[in-house]
Symmetry: C2
Subunit: 396 residues, 2 copies
Amino acid sequence: MENYEILKDLAIVLLAAKFFGLVARKCKAPMVVGEIIAGLLLGPIIHIVENNDFLGKMAEIGVILIMFSAGLETNLKELKKSGVKALAIAVMGVFIPLVGGTILYLCYYGFDKIGSEQFFKALFVGSIMTATSVGITVECLKEMGFLKGEIGQLIVSAAIIDDVIGIVVLTFVLGFKDPEAQPLRVVGNTFAFLALAVLLGILIYKLMKWVDARYPHSRRIPIIGLGLCFAISFCAEKFFGIADITGAYVAGIMLCNINDAPYVDRKVSVTGYMFFGPIFFVGIGLKTDFSAMTKDMIVFSLLFVLVAMACKVIGCGLITKAFKYPGIDCLKVGVGMMTRGEVALIITQKGLSVGLIDSSFFAPVILLIIVSSITVPILLKVLYAKKPDPQVEAKG
Amino acid sequence: MENYEILKDLAIVLLAAKFFGLVARKCKAPMVVGEIIAGLLLGPIIHIVENNDFLGKMAEIGVILIMFSAGLETNLKELKKSGVKALAIAVMGVFIPLVGGTILYLCYYGFDKIGSEQFFKALFVGSIMTATSVGITVECLKEMGFLKGEIGQLIVSAAIIDDVIGIVVLTFVLGFKDPEAQPLRVVGNTFAFLALAVLLGILIYKLMKWVDARYPHSRRIPIIGLGLCFAISFCAEKFFGIADITGAYVAGIMLCNINDAPYVDRKVSVTGYMFFGPIFFVGIGLKTDFSAMTKDMIVFSLLFVLVAMACKVIGCGLITKAFKYPGIDCLKVGVGMMTRGEVALIITQKGLSVGLIDSSFFAPVILLIIVSSITVPILLKVLYAKKPDPQVEAKG
């Protein structure tokens, strides 16, 4: 392939992603859904762009940037403040879907034994269900004026913690995937990485804080940050067997408290949305294999969506009830946590690249994103209309 | 290669480029020089990053972004105003180095006949010498407070026109490179492309102006712009045999008059300096082949630098003299136009990718950039100290 041939793919991917993304937004769906649809159209349907090695690598960079940015946006102080309640909701919001997804897979595809490959596939499908992408919920609550209310804040905090726990779960599941993996070693590696990340994180944080104080808002800050992000992602995967996306997220958290964190995030985000982000989401569409959509897979997809949504409501709702909130508020929390988005796709992509699942599994995940992002805003409106939580801010 | 392996290369390239770029700036050299040195160090010297297909494609995107940005920054109105004098200086500043470089190559490597491959190689080496990169000169004049003086403005305008003419020359030379190329067809293709570019350009300009008026400062503006840039670059190369970099430059000019042109330029530039730009310049270093640096090549490099610098002074100086400027001011114009930079590298890279020259030719070009960017500021200071042009602004 001549170098200039990539320009065609890039032009088509970027323009189509933007167009369908805007159409999706017009339909009140997340832009991501539009971008995936663009990919489905360009690839499996009209075949004018084929997924290739170059686009695959660009998409990988896209995911790294998204996770780095998520890390950078983490507010450690808020997390500490939101305390026990949010933590408990997050834990249950991860645990119940993980169990639910695992059981669904084992019931549908047959149970082998604990520790078998089949078992880890099931566990992986469960972990796809864990990560809440709270963007849609936040937008919806903001629109209704309930975001700063107690329930709204609880949902947001829980969703952030939920990401962290989800990443830890993913790390373990991927670590154990190798049938010959020694459990102790996986646990050891993971803890070694986290311990090193904390030590190195403090060092890097101090160093960057110093650089930042001397040269605030200079180009070197985001560039060094990005370089570190790539280095940490690479080392995580290469030396600890931990997913590069975990490394990118951790790199973001290391830098989230420097003064220029929002500045770094802005620069990284520009690069992300101008280029790598759309390539990642369109790439999901390109890779989707319609021929794998057997009747079996369709039924599984529908069950997957149901279980994923029900488990979040049950897990988060019950634990909220345990804190003695009225039933309607428990439902709000549960429904608010139901939305899934890019993180679910990123986890699925990771499973595909390590060979745990095949590309037909994008279908249930895409369906989950679409269904949850359409139903959650409707359900939240109904629930808030029934009985608002008392600590509500003035509508606006 | 696993996808995550690219993260290592990216981390090293970005961090090294930034570090050596900053060191270069400390030494009053352009950052580009530092980035090239980073590449020389990482590749041919200590071998921790090897040039590969992926980095090559990223570098290609980098060049496209640089040329698109150059097009976007074109000020058509200023160009029209600066008029005949600047045009004449630019034409001579392209013509004399083109002839000088061609003669140098033919004298050094032997003359075949007009139209032979050897002849086109010589012509290509000449066209590498044509493009002034006025950045260093501008910075230096700004520092001394002479930028807005008549001579300063003349230099800047001439350098911009010089880029346009350089691109046209490059287009013809590359078009003719094929020994079986039919001259009429090359000329026809070029004119067809330019005619279409004007027509399409007006359409695209009107369309984008409309979008821009409806959604000013929205993300869609830079993304659509970038998509168009890729599409036009691809079509130029694919259907007209015109260098993709010419396409990118033309795409930039098409959009340079919309209100949000600076906004698009900013977003494209962020993506450029965060990512693709450093990869391009480090890539030049990576590709440099020291084993090709025979005694012959070293002598040629020195001559190349001398001829390239002398021809600009002679060409631009003489024509300025023809406009009856005092001798010292003619020298200022000539010296101010001597600086070469990224455009010379981009042209060299193009010649390498179409097989007109081999990678050993990076050496004379890199040397030219380094020498010109060190000597020009010194010479300008001396010349301005001797006798300032009378229309000078207050120092500041």
